[in-house]
């Protein structure tokens, strides 16, 4: 019987990294599955409270000058909407944004103008957001809602 000698070649070329790779892979898969990069990334921010008849949130400070208001009435028209700004009736979001941009340029102090969106009760939320989006796109800084049409 042939006895094997101790002079066999060992194939180890360093520390055994197999457990390390296993653990690291598990951690990586955990992070990939459990992590979320952004909770929500897109918001239309309003700092103007809704204008509601009969509600006074805070008394105005002394020497308070009421802001210039630009009202946009929104009503449902078929599957879309019709926005009334001044004496113009607009059914397209891009046309509305262009019109509001023109109006923005005509105000002496456009940043102080409060845009009041006044939607009817049956107007889709998407169309309300479309009008809001157009007002933001026209560079208006103060955009809020009016609920007057709701209780007609």
């Amino acid at each position: 019987m042939k006895i094997r000698s101790n002079k066999q070649i060992h194939y180890d070329s360093g520390p055994n990294t197999t457990p390390l790779v296993d653990i690291v892979m598990v951690i990586l898969i955990f992070f990939m599955l459990a992590g979320s990069f952004g909770i929500q990334s897109h918001f239309l921010v309003s700092t103007v409270p809704a204008s509601v008849k009969g509600i006074v949130t805070a008394p105005p400070p002394p020497n308070w000058i009421p802001p210039t208001e630009l009202e946009i009435r929104v009503e449902t028209q078929g599957a879309g909407f019709v926005a009334t700004v001044g004496n113009r009736q607009i059914t397209d979001k891009n046309v509305l944004q262009a019109t509001l941009k023109q109006m923005y340029a005509q105000f002496p102090d456009p940043q102080s103008v409060e845009v009041r969106i006044n939607p009817g009760r049956d107007v889709d939320y998407q169309h309300v957001i479309d009008v809001y989006d157009a007002a933001v796109g026209a560079q208006f800084a103060k955009i809020g809602f009016n609920t007057a049409l709701l209780y007609r």
Binding site: Y11, G14, L28, I39, D124
Partner: protein, 167 residues
């Protein structure tokens, strides 16, 4: 003179060093960027409207997300179904109600409540996660409640519109 021979180089298997390098980089990236366990009460099943102009909110610490869906029509008018994560638990809030009303909840989160150990929060903001198919009559009571609770900072969660590819 006896000449010594250099030992044979024997590879023990696949070289995993580059793999470990890349995997470690990925882990560090995920650890820094990923938000694990951050829940702000957003109902992901709600289909939100789309908008082009939109801002990012980085800090959700001072916000309360209201998930708003169209509800039943009562004698008093349309009743929106509102849920929010208040005090770590998902709660259904009502437009009218004694203990769990939306106005009262917003009021004590904004103005503070010593009994609940909640301090005044002047930068308190509300995020409305509304179903895009609902009509304004369901949204209006929420906006009115925000105005009543003196919450002036209201944001509307919107999605980025998908651009259709031209053939």
């Amino acid at each position: 003179m006896k000449r010594r021979r250099m030992p044979d180089m024997k590879e023990g298997g696949v070289n995993v060093t580059p793999l470990i390098d890349i995997v470690m980089c990925l882990i560090i990236f995920y650890m820094l960027v990923a938000k694990i366990g951050v829940a702000v009460g957003i109902d992901q099943s709600i289909k939100i409207p789309e908008s082009i102009q939109g801002l990012k909110i980085k800090d959700f610490g001072n916000t309360l997300t209201l998930n708003v869906r169209p509800g039943p029509m009562s004698a008093a008018g349309p009743v929106p179904q509102i849920t929010a994560e208040v005090g770590g638990t998902m709660t259904e809030l009502h437009i009218t109600g004694a203990t769990d009303s939306l106005v009262e909840t917003l009021r004590y989160l904004r103005a503070g409540d010593p009994a609940r150990n909640i301090p005044e929060n002047r930068s308190f903001a509300v995020i409305i996660q509304g179903e895009k198919s609902m009509t304004f009559q369901y949204l209006a009571p929420v906006l009115i409640a925000c105005a009543q609770a003196n919450v002036h900072n209201v944001s509307f969660a919107t999605g980025i519109p998908v651009v259709e590819k031209k053939p």
